[in-house]
Symmetry: C2
Subunit: 192 residues, 2 copies
Amino acid sequence: MTLRVLGVDPGLTRCGVGIIEVDTTRRPSLVSVHTIRSAADAPLERRLLTIARGIEALVDEFRPDAMAIERVFAQNNVRTVMGTAQVSGLALRAAAERDIPVALHTPSEVKAAVTGYGSADKKQVGTMVARLLGLDEIPKPADAADALALAICHAWRRDSQPAASAPAHGLTPAQRAWRDAEKSVRTPRLGG
Amino acid sequence: MTLRVLGVDPGLTRCGVGIIEVDTTRRPSLVSVHTIRSAADAPLERRLLTIARGIEALVDEFRPDAMAIERVFAQNNVRTVMGTAQVSGLALRAAAERDIPVALHTPSEVKAAVTGYGSADKKQVGTMVARLLGLDEIPKPADAADALALAICHAWRRDSQPAASAPAHGLTPAQRAWRDAEKSVRTPRLGG
């Protein structure tokens, strides 16, 4: 039984979309990763339409079991936060319209899940995403790596929920994620 | 020749939608006014879908020549600004998808256009909207009145653009709006 998760790192100039699967061993694997772009000199409404259609096309192509979107805060970069919020609204609507369960995760939650600590920098997140997915290179741009990290975070949180009442070896989800990530680096991957 | 404008006062709990027409005399008339609501206890993605579908249904029913949406600022009420921004994104997308020209107007621009000064309060805006449209009562809730004010503001600004190089009697658009509004209050309306 696999769970396929589509993560969205919302943005008006670059919107990262990453699709991963986890199996019963919790090991994530890459399905696909994309960066949807819109021209900075296009009218706002056209940019939003471009990004929305891009997200919807990927959702329809990859038919995820769940979606995860980065939570936007009003305190974020004032210059870009409105566009980011608008794109997150379009992604949430795309999920609701298709009856796909969707959750918002904060950047700290994502960093903690993937690297083991909530204040990791972009390079650390990218490095762990590449290791976890067995990739030779860090996915670029950072929006793409962040979207994959979101999807992994969501898959693990979802996956770990039934175990919440009986935590494996007394580890927190972040600690388990870290342990599993370490394992995946050390264990040669067989097959694709 | 009439111009039909649909104004959107974006909101997640209550989203005002007002449709007006202006003819060559610049007198605005009411076509329709609505408040789309979503349940505060519903999941965010469902609320966004409800509001988006409500806006799209009205756009498709009333087929406006132009749309006007209130510009949302990051500095606004932090508790509600994200939802408001997300709804504005959905409205912008609805316009782009239908090739309807759309513009954002700030609350100050709208107040100035409708009442003659940019710091008017909600009651003053509502009162002028009712007078301008020849209504017996102020449209309620305030979101509905604000959506109509947005539509009127946009119609007048658009209408006045060709005259910008040769302003009538040296009046600013706001002053002309005020003058016209005063006239419309004093002049008995003939017919509907």
